[in-house]
Amino acid sequence: MNEPHDHHHAHAAGHRHPPQADHDDTLTYYRRLEIAVRELLIEKGIITAGEVSKVIEDIESRSPEGGARVVARAWSDPKFRELLLRDATSALTSMGFELALFLDTQLVIVENTPDVHNVVVCTLCSCYPRMLLGLPPAWYKSRAYRARVVSEPRAVLREFGLELWDRVAVRVHDSTADLRYLVLPMRPPRTEHMSEAELTALVTRDSMIGTAVCRAPS
């Protein structure tokens, strides 16, 4: 059960890790707090243990593969792509995603082109298109990413190994609880022969956040 280094935060000044990393089997105050809050809610009949398990299953069932299927469909079907950019909820429900996922938040798909590269952040907290990508990676929630990507996006992208031509405009989209963004990356060259399923495999999580681009297999 020893999972080394499970912190989900930027290393802010003044906060240093203890010499012993925080393991999953150590019951810290906040883990006890989660247990206590959950048990009180169950005892009071507000939720059931079964509901908690069901929601965790739902969370675990969502991964970037959902978003990748959407991108591959948009690359393969121009009508779908047009609808996706105009009305993402209609496009996604037409693919079989549950409407309930989109009821309390608007999803906007931003399209990369040869002239424009899009990047997504949430400077205020960690809003993220979870319905299509699952839980956000630790760096997305980190202080450093949230602070810097809006003021020096090109430097941040370079840290991710992505160097863009100067003529490409970089647009940074700051998400909120009510409005989330997903990047529609560009289809890599020399993939004309590939099926939708093959294309799905080329679409990475980071390409849909905007910190990477999709590449054809070499």
């Binding site: 810290t28 883990r31 707090l33 959950r38 048990e39 809610l41 965790i56 309390d104 980190s142």
Partner: protein, 102 residues
Amino acid sequence: MHGYHDLGGTPAGPIEKEQHEVQLWEKRVEALLLLMKRRQIQSSDENRRALESLGAEVYHALTYSERRILALSNNLISKGVFSVEELAAKLKQVEHRKNQLP
């Protein structure tokens, strides 16, 4: 004036890109937040408001899931879902159970 949670454009160091596995207890925190929203006990905005009321020091010292469960707990107390005393007693019970483990 910027709130301490409003990080856009503030100075910060390099981005750590190593993967961190999301742990089960952290998924349970997310599940509780979602269920409270579904029950209309706490909206996302109310949770955010509670996060933004923790104070800069606490906000930056805690991990993501730690501050989310603390914010939820504070809101549930202020809404009267449970009392500080009930929570304290339950925390003691959880601590006691831990000590019973082999």
